[in-house]
């Protein structure tokens, strides 16, 4: 019964259905093809290919030369590598928890659909929209000791003005500070997570006499754990690129290499010194470290959540 109907529709339907008949499965395969090809050709294969490069000496002029583990042993004695790793770890340890907390706080504050909350949601997202380069230049101005407004704010608050980008530690903190504003994507994710928390649970908590704070800490927050975990993962992986443009434009890796984050050092090795093998080796070491941080976050959040469930 369905066959004649199908044939008839084929005759009378739109241009699309008059195309040569191919099976539904094939049509799906065609729609999927660009993505699968791109995923393999532009992401997964290039990533895999960069692994063998880590064991070579390669400068793009002559063929790569296999040098075994020499790139890795060089890394051990390369203080700029350790300096970059330290700077990146400083950023990860300080900026990422603050950014995630900020996103959770914003979502908690603005999750009810009142008019003022709706306006505030847009405002909270605005800094995220500023393109990387523009954002880096903006903070170059804000941190400027002579022209920038930040030191005037510090004076108003009775604090000492800083020379921000001219000294190593203030510069490290400066990069963390400027990355506390563009947290809109995490905020949207948490907002969605908030809306998924079932009302019934909160109402049950209310009936049992739990206060707002208790309900948040013991009902809502544990239910948000998967979203928080996702956000932590994402921010950790993205930390490879998040502070890259600021480090490149706002501080130029300085002063005294204080903000020469590992991705920037890798970039310099690849783009400036043409040491692609060494750059690839460092990339994979960095990736190994990131993967362990992510595993650690996973364990910690699971433990914390199991205090309330299981």
């Amino acid at each position: 019964m369905s066959l004649p109907a199908e044939r008839q529709a084929g005759k009378t339907g739109s241009v699309l259905s008059r195309l040569p008949q191919i099976s539904y499965k094939r049509q799906l395969a065609i729609m999927l093809a660009p993505y699968v090809l791109g995923l393999l050709g532009l992401v997964l294969l290039p990533a895999l290919l960069s692994i063998p490069f880590a064991f070579t000496d390669y400068n793009a002029l002559r063929a790569p030369e296999w040098i075994g583990l020499r790139n890795f042993s060089e890394m051990l004695g390369d203080w700029l590598f350790w300096n970059g790793l330290g700077a990146s770890m400083f950023y990860i340890v300080l900026a990422i928890p603050l950014r995630v907390l900020g996103a959770v706080f914003l979502a908690f504050l603005l999750h009810k659909p009142t008019v003022s909350n709706k306006i505030n949601r847009v405002i909270a997202y605005l800094p995220t929209l500023i393109p990387d380069v523009a954002y880096a230049l903006l903070w170059l101005y804000i941190f400027n000791p002579l022209y920038g407004p930040l030191n005037w704010i510090l004076r108003l608050l009775g604090a000492e003005p800083e020379s921000w980008l001219l000294e190593p530690w203030p510069a490290k903190f400066a990069i963390v500070i400027m990355m506390l504003w563009p947290i809109g994507e995490g905020f949207v994710l948490m907002l969605a997570a908030f809306h998924q928390v079932p009302h019934e649970l909160n109402e049950a908590g209310q009936v049992d006499g739990a206060s707002g704070r208790q309900r948040f800490l013991h009902i809502t927050l544990p239910l948000l754990a998967p979203a928080i975990l996702l956000l932590l993962f994402r921010d950790t992986v993205l930390s490879f690129q998040a502070n890259f443009v600021p480090g490149l434009i706002t501080t130029l890796g300085g002063p005294y290499h204080a903000t020469r984050f590992l991705p920037i050092y890798i970039w310099q090795n690849a783009a400036e010194y043409q040491r692609f093998g060494y750059a690839a080796a460092m990339t994979w070491v960095m990736y190994g470290i990131t993967a362990s941080i992510i595993a650690l976050q996973f364990v910690v959040i699971r433990r914390w959540r199991s205090l309330f469930y299981d």
Binding site: R7, A9, G13, S17, L19, K25, L28, M31, L32, P34, Y35, L37, L39, G41, L42, V43, L45, A47, S50, A60, P113, I119, R121, V122, I123, A124, Y125, L126, L129, I130, P131, V133, A134, L137, W139, Y141, I142, Y147, P149, W152, W181, V188, L191, A192, A193, H195, Q196, G209, G212, R213, F233, V237, F240, Q241, V245, P263, T283, W284, M286, T290
Partner: protein, 301 residues
């Protein structure tokens, strides 16, 4: 009767329970006041960078540093904006940025939604594989791709052309976009697809006439995110473009910084020029993005 009994209870606490309930009420009221205060604080805090940005962009070039916190510069110098277009061929950079966005954003929406649609329709086993592959791809650091992508681009001959920037849109730009469409499409009741198939509709028609019209929020969200990505993209042009005639706006802004490293009024005016289109786009889309009461439509249920 009950009411009278209630009011008496709250007027004079007699037991521990009364006190704790009173405290709860107090906490609720404090919470409301706290909410107003915090909301205002958040609004001011997140507007600050933008206010400073606008202010700095119209400060007269060469004016000495302010001797107090300056909100609105005096005089207001709008000619800064004209000046940066004289210093650099920003018009042609803007055109290049527009070309990239006009090709890449629609292409992203089509390829990402095709892939997401197909993923929602294929057998569970290959689907699981695709989801896993997409998540793995999301975890690959960009630094790991710089070198090999450069070699691939050189090999297929797109180096030093705008195609090098557009190319990722052929695969939906980011696995995240594909997954977003997959989640959206898999929430559409399967019976809708089935009945269309019984009517003889092919995959493309079901995608175009059933799946897409029901997924407006996701289309807008992916469109805006893709626009922001391609418009702001800085690392890719630095890596793959050499000739100045191909520069996009972010590259132009960097050249401006190299020409006038501490000329903040001009630098920030450039920053405003590149930011405004993104904010305008976002204002049209924010409804789908931030205000879905039934649960931020494009991310979850």
């Amino acid at each position: 009767m009950i009411r009278e009994w209630d009011s008496e209870r709250y007027l004079e606490p007699q037991t521990d329970q009364d006190i704790s309930e009173g405290l709860n009420r107090l906490e609720r009221d404090a919470g409301r006041v706290g909410h107003v205060v915090f909301s205002l604080l958040v609004a001011v805090l997140f507007l600050l960078p933008l206010i400073w940005m606008l202010g700095a962009s119209v400060r007269k070039v060469g004016l000495p540093p302010p001797n107090q916190l300056e909100w609105i510069p005096n005089p207001i110098e709008l000619s800064n904006y004209a000046r940066i277009f004289e210093l650099l061929p920003l018009g042609s950079y803007t055109l290049n940025s527009l070309k990239v966005v006009l090709v890449a954003v629609p292409l992203t929406i089509i390829t990402a939604s095709w892939a997401g649609f197909a993923m929602s329709q294929i057998a569970p086993r290959p689907r699981t594989w695709l989801i896993v592959a997409s998540l793995v791809a999301l975890m690959v650091p960009v630094t790991a791709l710089w070198l090999t992508r450069f070699l691939i681009y050189k090999w297929i001959g797109v180096l030093d052309s705008l195609w090098a920037l557009i190319l990722p849109s052929f695969m939906g730009t980011s696995p995240l976009f594909v997954l977003l469409f997959y989640w959206t499409f898999s929430r559409i009741p399967g019976e809708l697809y089935e009945s269309a198939r019984l009517d003889g509709a092919g995959a493309l028609r079901i995608w175009g006439q059933i799946a897409m019209p029901l997924s407006r929020a996701s289309i807008v969200a992916v469109g805006v995110l893709a626009f922001v990505f391609f418009w702001s993209n800085f690392i890719d042009p630095v890596l793959y473009l050499n000739q100045q005639q191909n520069y996009t706006l972010p590259m132009g802004l960097q050249s401006l910084q190299q020409m006038q490293p501490t000329n903040f009024p001009l630098l920030i005016a450039g920053a405003v020029v590149i930011t405004v289109p993104v904010i305008i786009m976002f204002m049209f889309a924010q409804r789908f993005f931030l205000q879905e009461t039934r649960g931020a439509g494009w991310l979850g249920r």
